[in-house]
């Protein structure tokens, strides 16, 4: 088990190194010059040269990479060109907002998708199952940002019950010491703030959750229905158990495994989806920052954000792997 985990960590480091190289090279090769965007149009070539030297952009890409890598190993991800602050601080400051949004979306998707899968299995072959299938098909065929727009139209404009922009109402005094607003508001028992934050997060989280919920519902229902034919489920029925018990106690623990793998993969897509959704809802997270960084060609910031996303993705996969071992006794001794 320990060996397995160490192996995973080693491969994770290799992956991250690869990501770093690709990002570093690509953002320097594509057209667009961060220096040109910082200086007024009448800047002299000497000004440009001086600024390039200041940010180390006059050196070769390989040289730049190793300077950057050396810094990273000491915890220094460079300085943002547009905001003139250390990248690490900026990125970590925004990370909690995105994590809270993604996890909220994941929780909604799991609860909702799981409930639909269980209901679809319980009433399989009936009109209810057909209705669930149709709903799933619709949720899947519309991308998350369009769901965002639909939600804004309904719950922000026609029936304004939720906030449509930002992370928290600007008028509120925030007593928080961390950037995990949602989490800290619960810890501090400030349910007034909590309600305001949830009201801001709910629609973006829902938009992100829709497609994932549909995937979970579809896949879990499929594997539940297959499991329901297996002998141990039938045997459990002869013991006197009814449909609900048989589905949740006998079938679900075995049917959940393929869904778990997929949720891991899809959750990383969901995190990717935060980039556009955060923009749409002016939510101050990493994704919104990433778009600004790309528009401004803020190379150190782009690198920092991409590396952080890569760390999150590999972390999610690692967690799914470990969960798989916990849920499947056959893997435990392997």
């Amino acid at each position: 088990m320990l060996q397995r985990t160490l192996m995973r960590l080693a491969t994770t480091l290799v992956t991250l190194f690869g990501v770093a190289v690709i990002v570093f090279v690509v953002i320097r090769v594509v057209p667009g010059d961060p220096i040109a965007m910082m200086l007024p149009p009448m800047a002299t070539p000497e000004d440009i040269q001086r600024l390039k030297a200041l940010y180390g952009l006059d050196k070769s890409i390989a040289e730049q990479f190793f300077i950057w890598l050396g810094g990273v190993l000491h915890g220094d991800f460079g300085t943002s060109i547009t905001m003139r602050q250390p990248v690490l601080g900026l990125v970590l400051g925004r990370l909690p907002a995105t994590l809270e949004l993604s996890v909220m979306a994941l929780v909604i998707a799991v609860i909702w998708g799981g409930a639909l899968a269980l209901a679809g299995t319980r009433w399989r072959g009936s009109k209810a199952e057909a209705a669930i299938d149709v709903g799933n098909g619709m949720a899947l065929s519309v991308p998350d940002f369009l769901w965002g727009l639909v939600l804004i139209l309904f719950f922000g404009v026609l029936w304004p019950v939720f906030h449509i922009s930002g992370r928290v109402s600007p008028s509120l005094e925030l007593p928080f010491t961390t950037n995990f607003y949602l989490f800290e508001s619960v810890l501090r028992l400030r349910f007034d703030l909590w309600a305001d934050i949830v009201s801001h997060m709910f629609m973006p989280a829902l938009a992100l959750a829709f497609p994932l919920a549909a995937i979970i519902a579809q896949l879990l229902k499929q594997s539940l229905k297959e499991t329901m034919h297996l002998d141990y489920v039938t045997l459990s029925r002869t013991k006197g158990y009814g449909e609900n018990h048989v589905i949740t106690r006998e079938a679900l623990p075995n049917a959940i495994l393929p869904t778990l793998t997929l949720v891991g993969v899809q959750f990383t897509f969901l995190i990717g989806g935060t980039v556009i959704i955060e923009r749409l809802f002016s939510y101050e997270g990493l994704g919104n920052m990433a778009i600004d960084a790309v528009i401004n060609r803020d190379l150190p910031l782009i690198q920092g954000i991409v590396i952080l996303f890569a760390v999150i993705f590999t972390g999610v996969n690692l967690i799914v792997d470990l969960l798989y071992t916990v849920l499947n006794p056959r893997l435990r001794h392997a």
């Binding site: 141990y232 002869t238 158990y241 006998e250 499947n328």
Partner: protein, 290 residues
Amino acid sequence: MSFLRVENLCVDLKGSGDRLLRGVSLNVGAGEVMGLVGESGAGKSMIGKAILGILPRSAGVVDGVIELDGENLLALPPKVRRQRIGAKAALIPQDPLTALNPSRRIAPQITDRLVDILGWDRARANDRAREILAEVHIADPDRVLRSYPHELSGGMRQRILIASAFAAEPKLIVADEPTTALDVTVQKQILRLIRDMQARHGTALLFVTHDLGVVAKICQKMTVLYGGLVVEQTDVHGFFRAPAHPYSRALLAATPRHDDPAASLNPVPDDIIQAVRAEVAAADRNWRNG
């Protein structure tokens, strides 16, 4: 007084209306062993499934009586029926490799019925599980109870399933080809084990099989089926001495014999198949007209 009384049991395939069981009647007394034989598709497993309330969703009972311990199961509301079946009957399934839940330990798979359906307290149920495993000659019950199914051999798992079936002292056990999935050396042991357990506990046993040799070893009475129709119902001695129905005679002749290999493997002749099919068709006509 028979413990299980099945009367004119008819099972249809839903939608198409195809008949799977055609007015099957049988009686199994307390402690009696009844063999259900027939070729694949004859409906022998279907009878056991109908009794235990585990017919596939595509099939349904359309007529008849299934009386367990003097109570017509088909007249009970579904929940009560399930619990009666769970308390008084049990299944020994065909394939030990698929009949245990791979993600649960053995102990709860034996004790769940005792605790949830029969209302025993957990400690007593655990003691019972240990005791019943020892009874099926499992040397180290505590280790086995803590194991997951994948850690145990096929023969071991079949012993566990037999133990689990007997754990609640049911009055009726349906054994659905319990040796078919096992290799030959294990088959004999398992068969002997089922017979010993049945005799010791005085359980009525409905033994579904296509193997007449097994019937001769374990059953007192037998029912021969073809196309969901009872072809012959007799005591086992009578059957092997002089099968009454031509189809039964042909079935007996088709059984491999190790004492006379040359006389083995005679397929059931076509004219006999035609004749028994005509009987099935006649039964359907009677049913439609009456």
